[in-house]
């Protein structure tokens, strides 16, 4: 089935079975391997992408359902040629990424949170990323990173 997808601000045409997982279409047909598979059943969140700004597990979404919506993957988050999104900056600065396999999904879930709630408490950050498992960090540095990125996005602090 020919499907036209709006991914990261551009259009991409794929010819795939309609029930193929969005995760596999992104990775295999669109060469966007930043979206990871950790469990294949919607538990770990490593495959998180944003559909019209809402965070979803792309392993649970048949590609046919992603037609007509704006898909954002980690590859589309960076702003400009060499600039990074504030969340990407702070995940590096605070070591909110260790092994890195949960990081793309974690950052996208954090973006969805901050888009909806620009001034979250630490507890609200924990709620916002509760669908994304990390086995390395104990979440502490991730919460630090999201907290600082939120401040930057609100214009309270300049990133060094």
């Amino acid at each position: 089935m020919k499907i036209s997808l709006r991914i990261n601000g551009g259009l991409m045409d794929v010819d795939v079975p309609p029930m193929k997982r969005l995760l596999d279409v992104l990775r295999e047909d669109c060469d966007l391997t930043g979206t990871k598979e950790g469990c294949g059943e919607g538990e770990c969140g490593a495959c998180s992408v944003l559909l019209d700004g809402k965070v979803v597990n792309s392993c649970l979404v048949p590609v046919v359902q992603a037609q007509g919506v704006e898909i954002l993957t980690i590859e589309g988050l960076a702003e400009g040629e060499d600039g990074l999104h504030p969340l990407q900056d702070t995940f590096i600065k605070y070591s909110g990424t260790q092994c890195g396999i949960c990081t793309p999904g974690m950052i996208l879930a954090s973006k969805a949170l901050l888009d909806e709630n620009p001034d979250p408490t630490r507890e609200e950050i924990r709620e916002g990323i509760a669908g994304n498992l990390c086995r390395c960090t104990g979440y502490q540095k991730i919460v630090d990173a999201v907290d600082d990125a939120a401040k930057q996005l609100r214009g309270e602090e300049h990133h060094a």
Binding site: G40, E41, T73, L87, G100, R126
Partner: protein
């Protein structure tokens, strides 16, 4: 000043990981490759009568192999400490997930279909599933008596100690399986080359372990096979030994099919088939004086090894050495065994026997305190090892003995003593008002031997190379790999600090066994402390080598230059490097090998002496709130003070300690693996529960830095330490809140309910 040690420069792997550019094994899709899959046993124990392939099925585009395809010069084993485990079962099945046949095909769906046309005829046999009774079982599944390993420590005279003691306190403590649950499942790819050689790449901790296993399995030399580590999405010990198994599998398929073959496990297969933390039983008998002084300790420490030995003997050794905890006991006898069962082999997991040993030792200390009417803090202050004391292996501690400093720090930061009183008042008020809420606070103190046990480091003799590149750049060659713990940042920090250059002047070579030296495995909290020291020495050697052109000059990192006796610049690093590079006609590489500490004395037969070059120390305080209507356990907060010598990169260090602490919290609270007749019942993320961000409390890390002379800048190993202590601290908090005996991990609401109904166990004489 560009020295970065003790600061937190940006992680060198950060940009690739936050942009999705980092390629993990499953992301490598450039080449055309076949997907491989594993056909496994369906019984826990049995005899294979025949393996046949459906003659009516279309096999032309499918590669299939079984034990008969192992190359003539090779051996059908996955070589580790012993060679007891076959890569592919031939006749004997010892556990439910034993691999028997491998298939490969370009089309994943065809592969699943083809597996239905493999016929494996098996005569099932009775399995052995309870390790606690395995030594008395009439059913023998390993050797003569189901005992895989047996080690003892005898220090002083334990029976005389019991005679002299005022009281004898006994208790039994148990811990269950724990799954590493790296978020990236295991995966490997093998690429055959035209000259008959093979490159095997994948998610792994120990490239040279995999290389050794492949050489034996294939019967080839290093000229015919090399191993490359791909960016590794978490490991925690789980990628220490099992990658050798998958490497053998992809290699065999690739050689047979003469095409690249990739195997990536899905979560269910990974969780069922790969190694987990050993379940353990710890039986403690301790002689104490009325003032709280420990005089004698006898511990029986048993591990469930599963079906094959894998890393069990060394897990056992570490558990044995830490068996009485971090306390001064003059008379010790520890009897430690690994028992065989018909379950998947257990193996390496961060902590490596110590989380089990520490759980037993710490719960038992609380029991002793309760019997004597002392507080958990008092019993620890009386008995904690300090400089000048000897450990259970009779190792005299001298430098960097941070137990008491950690205990003081965590007690102060957490307000432990005040919390004990506040929570007692809270509970009294709660009870009076009919509220179901109870609060408790718990304490644990623990230590972790850094580096390999005994003379392990002297046996490994890890090597690291440093190379001068064009433009004064430096490249580090090491077999140590980054699995998230940050070695690709901290090693360059060590080298660049010697040179006085920025972090960006130093790069890490890709760990490929064809061009990096064997630095030893990336395990045992050894990488930064042991291999990092070698990297530091190698950098100094390179500096000295370039300095030969400037007789009488020394190198001053602050000026990034060779200087004379007055400190005047003789040649800048850039000029010296350019001249040396040109004179040599290319890169200049220096090699450095680990230099064993001549003061380390270890008797590997008696298990006495200097078990580790040094120990890292820690103390945890956990606060919990429990709802007695639902038995829900809510962690209020968690403090940990950890003596790690020196934090080379404080943010990475804190991240390691926080992450390791949460794994220890999971071990204590929610992580439970259920096995029935040798089958894993909950091999999914849906039903094997690891902590989410909401399950995790704020983890407050307090660093204690008592430098260790043997480590770079005083650093000690810290990777495993944080995982050892949280479970007993939480157990103590639950006991404080409810009065329940919490002698078993994990403490789920169901277990707490049962514990509150059960009579007290153990005995006091």
């Amino acid at each position: 000043m560009s020295a970065t040690v003790g600061k937190s420069p940006l992680r060198t792997d950060g940009v690739a990981k936050v942009t999705g550019e980092a390629k993990y094994v499953d992301d490598l899709r450039d080449e055309e490759f076949l997907w491989g899959m594993t056909v496994r046993s369906k019984v826990a124990r049995g005899t294979i009568k025949s393996i046949t392939y459906d003659p009516d099925y279309e096999w032309t585009d499918i590669v299939r192999v079984d034990y008969r395809d192992v190359p003539a010069g090779g051996q059908n084993v996955v070589s580790h400490l012993t060679d007891d485990q076959p890569a592919l079962a031939s006749t004997e099945i010892r556990h439910m997930y034993e691999p028997i046949v491998l298939l490969a095909c370009a089309d994943l769906e065809r592969l699943a279909e083809a597996a239905k046309h493999v016929f494996i005829e098996v005569e099932p046999l009775e399995g052995l599933f309870d390790f606690e009774t395995a030594d008395k079982s009439e059913l023998i599944v390993y050797g003569d008596d189901n005992i895989m390993n047996h080690l003892t420590i005898a220090k002083g005279d334990v029976e005389a100690g019991f005679e002299a003691a005022d009281l004898i306190v006994e208790g039994v403590y148990r811990t269950g399986w724990q799954e590493q649950m790296y978020i990236e499942p295991q995966g490997m790819i093998a690429v055959p080359h035209e000259d008959g050689s093979l490159t095997v790449s994948g998610s792994l901790q120990c490239p040279f372990y995999v290389l050794t296993a492949l050489k034996k399995f294939l019967g080839v030399g290093e000229d015919k096979v090399n191993v490359v580590q791909t960016i590794t999405g978490g490991a925690f010990g789980g990628k220490e030994d099992y990658p050798s198994m998958i490497a053998c599998h992809v290699a065999l398929l690739a050689l047979k099919g003469q095409k690249p073959v990739k195997i990536v496990y899905d979560r269910a297969e990974d969780l069922a088939a790969t190694t987990k933390r050993h379940p353990a039983t710890m039986r403690h008998k301790t002689g104490v004086m009325r003032d709280g002084t420990l005089v004698a300790s006898r511990v029986e420490f048993d591990l469930d090894g599963g079906a094959y030995i894998t890393m069990s003997p060394v897990v056992l050794a570490r558990g044995l050495i830490h068996g009485v905890g971090c306390y001064r006991v003059p008379n010790v006898f520890i009897d430690a065994r690994v028992l065989a069962t018909s379950t998947p082999p257990n193996g390496a997991f961060r902590g490596f026997g110590n989380p089990q040993a520490t759980f037993g030792a710490e719960r038992h200390m609380d029991k002793i305190a309760e019997v004597l009417g002392l507080s958990p803090l008092e019993i620890r202050r009386i008995n904690l090892l300090k400089a000048g004391d000897t450990t259970a292996t009779d190792q005299q501690l001298d430098l960097s003995v941070g137990g008491a400093a950690c205990l003081d720090m965590v007690v102060e930061k957490s307000r432990y003593e005040a919390l004990r009183e506040e929570y007692a008042a809270f509970n009294a008020a709660s009870e009076a008002s009919g509220s179901p809420l109870r609060r408790g606070v718990g304490l644990s103190t623990f230590f972790h031997g850094a580096g390999f046990t005994g003379n392990g480091e002297a046996r490994i003799m890890g090597r690291a190379d440093v190379e001068l590149r064009e433009g004064g750049r430096v490249r580090i060659y090491t077999g140590s790999i980054d699995m998230g713990q940050g070695v690709n940042t901290t090693f360059p920090q060590l080298a660049s600090t010697e040179l006085g250059l920025g972090l960006d002047a130093v790069e890490m070579a890709v760990p490929d066994t064809s061009h990096v030296p064997d630095s030893g495995p990336t395990v045992a909290s050894r990488t930064l402390m042991v291999v990092g020291k070698v990297v530091q020495q190698a950098t100094r050697k390179l500096i000295a080598k370039l300095g030969e052109a400037y007789p009488g000059a020394t190198y001053d990192p602050d000026q990034q230059a060779y200087v004379d006796a007055d400190g005047a610049v003789v040649a800048s690093w850039q000029d010296a490097a350019a001249a040396a590079y040109e004179a040599a006609g290319g890169p200049i590489r220096v090699e450095q090998t680990y230099e064993p500490d001549p003061n380390v004395e270890w008797d590997g037969d008696k298990y006495l002496g200097d078990a580790y070059p040094v120990y890292s120390w820690a103390a945890d305080v956990a606060s919990v709130e429990i709802d007695l209507d639902t038995y829900e356990i809510d962690l209020l907060d968690f403090h940990t003070a950890e003596d790690i010598g020196k934090a080379i990169h404080p943010i990475i260090v804190e991240g390691q300690l926080e992450g390791g602490t949460l794994q220890g919290i999971g071990y204590g609270t929610c992580e439970e693996l259920h096995m029935k007749d040798g089958a894993v019942l909950n091999n999914r993320m849906t039903n094997y529960i690891i902590p989410t961000s909401l399950d995790s409390p704020e983890i407050l890390v307090h660093l204690v830095e008592l430098p260790f002379i043997g480590g770079p800048h005083g650093a000690k190993g810290l990777g495993e330490l944080p995982t050892d202590g949280p479970a007993p601290a939480i157990a103590a908090a639950i006991a404080h809140a409810t009065g329940a005996e919490v002698n078993e991990t994990s403490f789920t609401p169901e277990k707490l309910h049962r514990a509150l109904l059960a009579p007290k166990t153990g005995s006091v004489q």
